[in-house]
């Protein structure tokens, strides 16, 4: 009899979720849109940048370098320039982002004086892109220089080294996937659960349920399970999307990863229940989860701003934010291929938080009005 009661409640919860098409669409659509946005649009990568070449040398070195630049997938030759005057017009057209200028007698200078001058001029109206483009171009030049110096006498000068660990191509999507996953899970687990419970409070249905033989833990569990299923499946969709569309690697153990996801979802859910036990209505529940949860999660979790760059007080505060531990674990497992020996500490912190939230929530949430 007791079980029938509980399943009746569970069935009702799933109905609420599936009936609310708009919310479902938002919940599943948002991570997909975000991942696609971060993957395609908001990215530090460059691709098919239009380049113009002003080749005053016209020797084998300048031809070699031009070929190297163009054979990479990053650059595309837009035009050949004949004089310095044309550079400005090229930029003004807005099509050309970078101009490479080879000096007169480039090959001769390199072979005789060991120094060759190549000028990289970029359109710095968008400084970020310009920086990236310059870095890419320099990397190609350096590469060429190294090849040139192979086995040859006094080496030419190497000035810079541009290298990014774990994301050599500076792929934005690698860094954003764990963040997006975390935000979505927070949203679905904590916010949706708290709103759904607060709604019952607001409309008085909870009052009607209080007279029923349902126990408070049954109500909590009945609220938690559907959202657990929901946020877990959304996470799988997000993960699948980033793996198959953007080839984000999962270098660590997938089961360890899913286990940590589950732990984080439970932490967020218990936080949601705690919020709804405090909030008198849906509006308050939403505000509390927005201000108390989403904002700190986005700002202080290391999702966008690196924690190491924060002032010390904020670094201390970031410790109490569950997402901080989760995101660092996700990055460890997904991108660095770390195992249990690395993430066990973070796991313990999260588990401890889950226990505390659950304890507080179950103490506060009673089948009674105050």
């Amino acid at each position: 009899m007791n079980r029938r009661r509980f399943f009746g409640f569970l069935q009702k919860e799933f109905r609420h979720i599936f009936r609310d098409r708009r919310t479902m669409l938002i919940l599943f659509g948002m991570p997909i849109v975000q991942i696609l946005l971060f993957g395609f649009a908001i990215t530090n990568e460059i691709k098919n940048v239009n380049v113009a070449v002003l080749d005053k040398a016209h020797d084998d070195v300048s031809h070699d370098i031009t070929n190297r630049i163009l054979s990479s997938e990053y650059f595309h030759l837009y035009q050949n320039l004949n004089s310095e005057k044309e550079i400005e017009t090229a930029f003004q057209s807005g099509k050309v982002k970078v101009v490479v200028v080879f000096e007169n007698n480039l090959a001769k200078n390199i072979y005789s004086k060991n120094i060759g001058n190549i000028q990289i001029i970029s359109d710095a109206t968008d400084p970020n892109t310009a920086n990236t483009i310059v870095a890419y171009t320099r990397a190609i030049l350096l590469n060429y220089q190294q090849d040139l110096n192979k086995g040859s006498k006094p080496p030419a000068i190497i000035q810079t080294e541009v290298r990014m660990w774990f994301n050599e191509e500076l792929k934005g999507v690698y860094l954003f996937v764990p963040g997006v996953m975390t935000i979505i899970m927070m949203l679905v687990s904590a916010m949706m659960t708290s709103i759904s419970l607060a709604r019952e409070k607001e409309t008085g249905t909870l009052e009607a349920l209080m007279v029923s033989p349902l126990k408070s833990w049954q109500v909590i569990l009945g609220k938690v399970i559907p959202y657990l299923v929901l946020s877990f499946s959304i996470t799988l969709v997000t993960l699948g999307l980033s793996m198959f569309v953007f080839h984000v690697p999962i270098r660590g153990n997938i089961f360890l990863l899913l286990g940590e996801v589950l732990l984080f979802v439970i932490t967020a859910l218990s936080f949601g229940i705690l919020i709804s036990s405090i909030a008198p209505n849906q509006m308050a529940a939403m505000l509390i989860s927005m201000m108390g949860l989403m904002l700190p999660t986005i700002i202080l979790s290391g999702y966008i701003f690196p924690i190491d760059n924060m002032p010390v007080p904020l670094q201390v505060i970031s410790n109490i934010i569950p997402a901080r531990w989760f995101i660092s674990m996700l990055r460890d497992i997904m991108l660095k291929g770390a195992g249990w020996s690395v993430v066990w500490k973070d796991t313990c912190v999260l588990a401890f938080m889950a226990v505390v939230f659950l304890f507080l929530a179950s103490r506060r949430f009673k089948m009674k009005l105050r």
Partner: protein, 303 residues
């Protein structure tokens, strides 16, 4: 008589305001017992305490023979329809009913006979979402949901608020029939005109019960005369009427002003003459039978 609800000295405060102040009463088996009082009188709080949804500060009650402390026993014996019709707007009529049946550990089939008469009117709309129902239909569905587990005592908190007059009348007729089956019903309402539908009513104001009696007795024992007054200039009348000697209380009542006066002093001619002096025209002055509202206003002023 078989008493189904016996409340003794129930007291409840929210911070500094006393919501209920030593409320005592008893309700008999098969009785339709009304709590009449304005918003904020403490009706909802009282119902919440009697259904164990809220704890009282002090005092106790026996509900169908069980103390309030014995929560599980009380909860399984009461049906409760909270102030707002607590239905799930996104679930259909049938789903709502089935949900409450399941949660209370029964099935719709098992207890269909209890709700049959009410539910037949909802049946054509059973696949409609509860949020799309009219106020009257919502009210009927909420009643079905409160009845589905065959309660012994039914608590209805302002069931007719926000419902059209026709549905209200239907609803009271339904309660009358439910009562016939031996169900004890406690109902609260801010509408004084609904008092006559109850077997007995308790007039409640600021957490205190002013009077408990059958509605007929309450009006009959009213010690004063009620005089209804009307004129062409009601605004002026409101001011002037205060100057009438021996008026115990004055208050608006629809298009009339009601004056309660001691029987020996009341004279329609005297008042009519006074009003003419003040320049009123088309005056209408008549002694009427006291209604529940008159009694309520008088008791309120006295307390």
């Amino acid at each position: 008589m078989n008493e189904r609800v016996i409340a003794t000295n129930i007291t409840k405060s929210f911070r500094s305001t006393k919501a209920l102040d030593a409320v005592s009463f008893s309700v008999n088996e098969g009785e339709l017992f009304g709590f009449i009082g304005p918003d904020g009188a403490g009706k909802s709080t009282l119902f919440r305490i009697l259904t164990t949804v809220m704890n009282a500060d002090s005092g106790d009650a026996l509900v169908d023979g069980f103390h309030l402390k014995d929560e599980i026993a009380v909860r399984s014996r009461v049906g409760y329809m909270p102030g707002k019709f607590s239905l799930y707007p996104d679930l259909s009529v049938q789903e709502n009913l089935e949900f409450f049946a399941k949660v209370f550990g029964t099935t719709v089939q098992e207890n269909y006979s209890i709700i049959k008469e009410i539910y037949v009117r909802l049946e054509p709309f059973k696949d409609r979402r509860a949020g799309k129902l009219s106020g009257g239909m919502k009210q009927k569905l909420a009643l079905c949901c409160a009845l589905i587990h065959k309660p012994r005592v039914l608590f209805l908190d302002e069931p007719t608020t926000g419902v059209d007059p026709v549905s209200r009348r239907e609803f009271w007729e339904m309660l009358g029939r439910l009562k016939q089956s031996g169900l004890t019903i406690l109902v609260s309402t801010p509408y004084m005109d609904e008092a006559s539908r109850c077997d007995r009513v308790a007039l409640i104001q600021k957490g205190k019960i002013l009077d408990i009696d059958p509605p007929g007795v309450i009006t009959k024992k009213f010690p004063l005369h009620v005089i209804a007054v009307k004129s062409d200039n009601m605004q002026k009348l409101r001011k002037d009427i205060l100057k009438v000697e021996d008026a115990e209380s004055v208050y608006g009542f629809g298009e009339f002003l009601h004056i309660a006066m001691k029987k020996e002093n009341s004279s329609t001619e005297k008042i009519e003459f006074f009003l003419k002096q003040q320049g009123h025209q088309h005056t209408e002055v008549k002694i009427i039978e006291a209604g529940i509202e008159d009694c309520f206003m008088h008791l309120m002023e006295k307390s």
